[in-house]
C-alpha cells in the first residue's frame, strides 16, 4: 500500500493537466501491482539488508553471546583468504567454460530446430526434459554415470578403467560442467531459437542470390542480427552459472577436491560452520559480483541495440 501511494507521484513527472480517468487508472494500476512489488521487496530487500548487518558483526552461532560489531573485519578476512579467491577462480572457470559450450551447442540445436524439415516436435519435447528435470536428479544421473563402481562410462569400449574423473579436480570439474551444460543448454537453445525466428528470410535469399555461402550467411547475417538475443541469453545463463550450487553439492559433496564454488563456500561457512558474520560477508560479496556481471552485460546490450538502431 505504501509503495503504491508514495511512489506513484515521485516516479510520474507532474503533467500539466491529468484527467480524472487517467488518475484513476494509475491508482488502480499501483493497487494491483502493490502486493507483488511489496512481496518482492520484502523477500529480497529485507534479507539482503539483514545480511549486510550480519556481515558487520562477529557472530558465530556456536558462541552467540560473543556477538559484537566488528565493522568491515569480516570482509577483510574473506578478501585476504586464499579460499575465497580460489573459489572465485573455480566459479569463473565453471561459468566461462559451461556458458561457452552452451552457446555453441544451443546454437546448433536452435539451428536444427529452426531448419527442421521434420521431427521438430520430438526434438522440442526431448530438450525440454533436461530443462524440466530437478537439478539434483540430473546431478545424480551424471555422478552415477561416472561412478567408479557402477558408471556406464567405464563399461564403454576405449575408456580406460584407470581414468577416474571423480578422484581428481580436473575430472570432477569436467563432470560438473557436463552436468551443467546438459541441464541448461535447452534453455539457451530455446532463447536462441526465438532470436533466429526474428531474422528475416529475405536477407538470406538476397545473400544467396549474391552468392554467399551458408557459413558466410550465418556469420554475416544471422549472428549480427541475433546479437541482442545472444546477449540476453548469455546474461541469463552467466548469472545462473555463477550461482552454481546444486550440481557441485551432489557431484562432489562439500565442494571437495577444489571444486568449491562461491555459493558452496557461502553454504559451508553459513550452515556447516554456522558462522553467520563471516558467511554473510561471503553472501554480500557474491551479491556484489552478480551485480557487477549484470551491469557489464546490460552495458554491452545497450551498446549493441544502439548500434543496431544506428545501422538500420
Amino acid at each position: 500500500m505504501e509503495a503504491a501511494t508514495t511512489r506513484a507521484p515521485t516516479v510520474a513527472p507532474p503533467k500539466p493537466r491529468i484527467t480524472e480517468r487517467a488518475r484513476a487508472e494509475r491508482k488502480l494500476a499501483w493497487l494491483l501491482c502493490a502486493p507483488a512489488v511489496i512481496a518482492m521487496l520484502l523477500v529480497t530487500g529485507y534479507p539482503i539488508g539483514y545480511a549486510i548487518y550480519l556481515s558487520l558483526q562477529k557472530f558465530d552461532l556456536r558462541f552467540p553471546d560473543d556477538k559484537e560489531f566488528v565493522g568491515l573485519a569480516n570482509y577483510g578476512d574473506v578478501l585476504t583468504s586464499t579460499t575465497w579467491w580460489s573459489d572465485v577462480a573455480t566459479t569463473l572457470i565453471i561459468t566461462v567454460i559451461s556458458v561457452s559450450i552452451e552457446l555453441v551447442l544451443g546454437m546448433l540445436i536452435a539451428l536444427v530446430m529452426h531448419r527442421a524439415i521434420f521431427g521438430r516436435g520430438p526434438v522440442r519435447a526431448a530438450i525440454l526434459i533436461p530443462y524440466g528435470i530437478v537439478t539434483v536428479v540430473a546431478a545424480f544421473g551424471w555422478r552415477y554415470a561416472f561412478d567408479p563402481t557402477s558408471g556406464f562410462v567405464f563399461g564403454l569400449p576405449l575408456v580406460p578403467d584407470t581414468w577416474q574423473p571423480l578422484n581428481t579436480k580436473a575430472g570432477s570439474l569436467f563432470v560438473i560442467i557436463a552436468a551443467e551444460v546438459w541441464k541448461t543448454t535447452p534453455f539457451m537453445a530455446l532463447l536462441l531459437l526465438a532470436g533466429l525466428a526474428l531474422v528475416p528470410d529475405e536477407l538470406h535469399e538476397a545473400a544467396k542470390v549474391d552468392g554467399a555461402s551458408t557459413l558466410q550467411r550465418f556469420f554475416r547475417i544471422t549472428l549480427p542480427l541475433m546479437r541482442p538475443a545472444i546477449l540476453v541469453a548469455l546474461l541469463f545463463r552467466t548469472l545462473d552459472a555463477f550461482r552454481i550450487f546444486d550440481n557441485i553439492f551432489i557431484i562432489q559433496p562439500g565442494g571437495a577436491l577444489g571444486t568449491e564454488s562461491v555459493s558452496i563456500l557461502g553454504y559451508n561457512v553459513l550452515i556447516n560452520r554456522v558462522n553467520l558474520g563471516l558467511g554473510s560477508a561471503v553472501s554480500v560479496l557474491i551479491f556484489i559480483c552478480v551485480i557487477l556481471i549484470a551491469v557489464l552485460f546490460v552495458k554491452g546490450l545497450g551498446t549493441s541495440t544502439a548500434q543496431q538502431r544506428g545501422e538500420t
Binding site: E25, A29, W30, A51, R124, V134, L193, R243, I271
Partner: protein, 275 residues
Amino acid sequence: MQHTNRERALWSIAILVVLFYALIPVVWIASLSLKTPEEVGDKKFFSGFSFDNYDVVFSDDTFIAALINSIGIAGIATVISIVLAAMTAYATSRLDFTGKTLILSGALAVAMFPPISIVGSLFDMWRTLGIYDTWIGLIIPYMTFTLPLAIYTLSAFFREIPWELEQAAAVDGATPMQAFRKIIVPLAAPGVFTAAILVFIFAWNDFIFANTLTSTDNARTVPAALAFFTGASQFEQPIGAISAASVVVTIPIIIMVLIFQRRIVAGLTAGAVKG
C-alpha cells in the same frame, strides 16, 4: 520444397543426436533404478528388471513425507505467486501508468538474485520467528524466484489478449462480470496455466533453500531428501533407491513436458525475449 533422401538422412541423424544427448542421463537413472544390488556394478544399460528399489522408496516414510512436502510447498507457492503476478501483469499490460518499466525491470533484477545471499539471514530470522523447517518458511523465499518468473510470463501472455472484446461484449449487453467470465477468463486461462506450470517446475526444482531452511521430514522437499538419503545402512551407497526416487519425481515432469511442450516453450521465450 522437395527434400532429397540425403537431406532426410542428415536430418534424421541430427535429430537422433539431439534425442540421444537429451535422454542419456535420464535413461541411465531409469536403468539403475531397475537393478538389484548385485547388478548395480555391471555398468550396463537395462541389465536388470526388478522393482525392488521402488518398493524400498515407497515404503520409506522420509520419501513419502518429502513428496507431500514438495507437492504442497510448490503448489501453494505457485498459487500465491500466480495470483499476485496476474494482478501485476494485468496492470502492466492493460493499464497506462508510469513506473511500468520500473516494475518489470525490478522483477528482472529480483530474478537475477543469488539465493545464497539471503540464506544466512533467513536461517537466522526463521529460527527466531519459529518458522525454520516449516512449509511457510520455504514458501516465502520461493517468492524470490516464482514472482518474477510469473510476472514476466503473464505480462507477455496478457499483452497478446484482445481486450477490446470486453467492450464488444458490453455493447452486446453483457454485464462486466459476464464479460469477464465468458470472454476474458477463457482468453487468459491458457497463459495463466502455462505460467503456473513453469513456476511449479521452478519451485519443485529448488534445492538451496530446501537444503538450508529445513532439517526434518516436517518440511524437507524431495531434492533435499534425495541429497541426504542414506538407505538401509549408513555405509551402503543406496544408488538403486536414489535412482528409483529420482525416476518417481521425474515422471510427472516428463508427462507435463510432453503434453504442454508448445505452451512451455512459448512461455519461456515470451518472458525472456519480449520483456
